[in-house]
């Protein structure tokens, strides 16, 4: 037994010596700390902000019929555990969270927040995942092209376009696309994610209908996100092109294509880290874009919850959004660890 224990310990130690495992476990620890801090912020905000928002809420609902008012007040006090000591409130908040209980919505009584958010989340992800991945690929390629064609007409035309696109909010692009293609040309629908006459199913008509509604919001996010990636990649490639190894490879007479491939590979790594860092920004922009299209995703849900002061819904939606984002971050980290030769070769070498 003791022998086995020893060998297990040794095994674990050697696993930690593995650069891949070390990198990934450090990142997981980091993401968990981030999540905990985020929960602390969510917990603290309604309780410590001056001019207590819960009091505002109680004040706002004062004109309801007495029986609903009492019920609401009871709900509020239970939901936030008001009146109990702070540490008990925090304990209950975390305990409920681990049971997957995010409370019930104020504006849709009896409906669980988790249910609402999980119905909305797939719509958001359906927009976000393809748009962010595709914009990343297209942006990087265009950025590399601009850098390679530096001081030519191509770069002089592309760079201002990138700069303008990256400062164009997705939702404004959404308004413009909506106005041109849906309102004026009437090619695309003006709102929602599918025709409400169709019941969600896997039939072809429904899928086509969903895609038809999806196109404009998807394009707004895609186009808006391309600029940032392209600018980053452009300066990265220009920087790499000035590196010593490029002049060395050139002096050896290596074909341009091969040198470019090296440059592209080396410029790619920081862009993967960039993907992890920018997912949040893209998410934020996409949430607002949903509002323009009345698209039934998380952004639209949060927007409605905000106008109705539906605090459990706001909290729940933000918690699940952050969780999704941290998971996405983790996946990007895994890809990074796999692509970076410094980490990967250590991994294979084990």
């Amino acid at each position: 037994m003791s022998h086995r224990g020893k060998s297990l310990k040794k095994k674990l130690l050697s696993l930690y010596g593995n650069p891949f495992i070390r990198f990934v476990s450090r990142r997981v620890g980091f993401l968990i700390i981030t999540f905990v801090i985020f929960l602390l912020i969510i917990f603290a905000l309604p309780r410590f902000i001056p001019g207590n928002p819960l009091a505002t809420l109680l004040y706002a609902i004062r004109e309801m019929p007495p029986e609903t008012l009492q019920l609401k007040q009871k709900q509020l006090i239970e939901q936030f555990g008001l009146g109990k000591p702070l540490e008990v409130q925090f304990y209950e908040f975390i305990a409920r969270l681990f049971r997957g209980d995010l409370g019930t919505s104020y504006s849709y009584p009896g409906i669980k927040v988790v249910t609402m958010v999980f119905t909305a989340l797939p719509w958001s992800l359906g927009l976000l995942i393809p748009a962010s991945l595709l914009s990343w690929i297209i942006g990087n390629l265009l950025g590399a092209l601009a850098a390679y064609k530096r001081k030519t007409l191509i770069d002089n035309a592309l760079l201002p376009a990138f700069l303008t696109l990256t400062e164009t909010p997705y939702y404004w692009l959404a308004m413009v696309l909506l106005y041109i293609f849906a309102v004026t040309l009437k090619i695309f629908p003006t709102s929602d994610a599918h025709n409400f006459l169709y019941f969600p199913s896997l039939r072809l008509t429904f899928i086509l209908d969903v895609l038809w509604h999806w196109t404009l919001p998807f394009l707004s996010i895609l186009m808006g996100a391309i600029g940032g990636w392209a600018i980053g990649m452009r300066s990265m490639v220009i920087y790499e092109l000035g590196a010593d190894y490029v002049s060395y490879a050139d002096s050896l007479g290596l074909p341009d294509r091969k040198v470019l491939l090296y440059v592209f590979k080396n410029s790619m790594l920081p862009q993967i880290t960039g993907l992890a860092l920018n997912l949040g920004t893209i998410l934020g922009g996409a949430l607002i874009t949903e509002i323009v299209f009345n698209y039934p995703g998380t952004g639209f849900l949060i927007f409605r919850a905000l106008t109705q002061l539906d605090y459990p819904m706001i909290q729940g939606a933000f918690i699940l959004l952050i969780l999704t984002l941290l998971i996405a971050n983790f996946i990007v980290d895994l890809v990074y660890a796999y692509v970076d030769p410094r980490i990967r070769t250590g991994y294979i070498g084990e």
């Binding site: 308004m175 860092l277 706001i314």
Partner: protein, 279 residues
């Protein structure tokens, strides 16, 4: 006498164009708000398209959209500058301390910075703003400013680290100067151009962030910004009703302001980092 730096800088057209756009917008907002002292007053009938009397039409309450836009630019600029200054103050302080002290101070400050860097700023802004009952431009700037600094801290830190190993630093240390004096007299002047670029970028980011907050209904509660004009257009379904003069101009102004600032910083960046300039 024009300093040679300026001559060199204006050789590239980027800076001419971007500064031109930016200064133009600033002038419009200053002189325009003198022309329209009361943008929120009802000026005529609702939903008018652009005409001689109302160059950019009117909104649902019959307010002149040109007046709203001009005031909006002014307030957006105010939020941009204030939020950028707040972020810069936090970011530079943390970056300088971290880079200068090193050791445990450095690693703990950078841990905090990285944690905030991972948390999506716009979501944190929304969360804080959601719990504020009344939001004036200063509050909105604060909310934006306290979430946007981490990258500045990281960048300043790495600058300090590289400056630290320069000769003049050893000289100052040998002369027995106090840390604070070394930082203020030796380090910060060496980073002036860098800090200015960070300010410009922060400003453009803050103006975009303000519009985003407004669009989700969390912008200023009193007054007008570019974001709130867009928000009102959205709330009144301006796009589906074809009222392009309502949602178009504020978006164009916002993009022009933010993009010109970004272009200014790109031009400066190319000037100050030789590897980008050559090639």
């Amino acid at each position: 006498m024009v300093p040679p730096i300026l001559k060199e800088l204006f050789k590239t057209k980027k800076l001419d164009i971007s500064l031109g756009i930016f200064i133009g917008m600033v002038i419009i907002s200053i002189f325009g708000s003198a022309l329209y002292p009361n943008p929120l007053a009802v000026a005529g009938p609702s939903y008018r398209p652009p005409s001689n009397a109302f160059p950019l039409g009117t909104d649902d309450r019959g307010r002149s959209l040109l007046a709203l836009l001009i005031t909006g630019i002014k307030n957006s600029l105010y939020i941009g500058v204030t939020a950028a200054l707040i972020s810069l103050a936090i970011g530079v302080t943390i970056g300088v301390i971290s880079g200068f002290k090193g050791g445990v101070t450095d690693s703990s400050l950078m841990l905090i910075t990285d944690l905030i860097l991972v948390m999506p700023a716009i979501l944190i802004m929304m969360l804080i703003a959601a719990y504020l009952k009344e939001r004036n431009p200063l509050f909105v700037s604060l909310v934006i400013g306290i979430t946007a600094w981490p990258w500045v801290a990281r960048a300043v830190r790495s600058q300090i680290m590289s400056l630290k190993s320069r000769e003049f630093m050893y000289m100052s240390k040998m002369a027995g100067l106090r840390d604070m004096r070394i930082i203020i007299e030796d380090l910060l002047p060496n980073m002036a151009s860098y800090i200015f670029m960070a300010f410009v970028l922060l400003m453009s980011g803050a103006m975009i962030a303000e519009a985003g907050l407004s669009m989700i209904g969390l912008g200023v509660t009193k007054g007008v910004t570019l974001g709130s004009v867009l928000y009102w257009a959205q709330q009144n379904d301006a796009v589906r009703r074809g009222l392009w003069w309502w949602f178009g101009p504020p978006g164009i102004c916002l993009i022009a302001l933010a993009a010109s600032l970004l272009l200014i910083s790109t031009a400066l960046d190319e000037y100050f980092s030789p590897r980008l300039k050559g090639g």
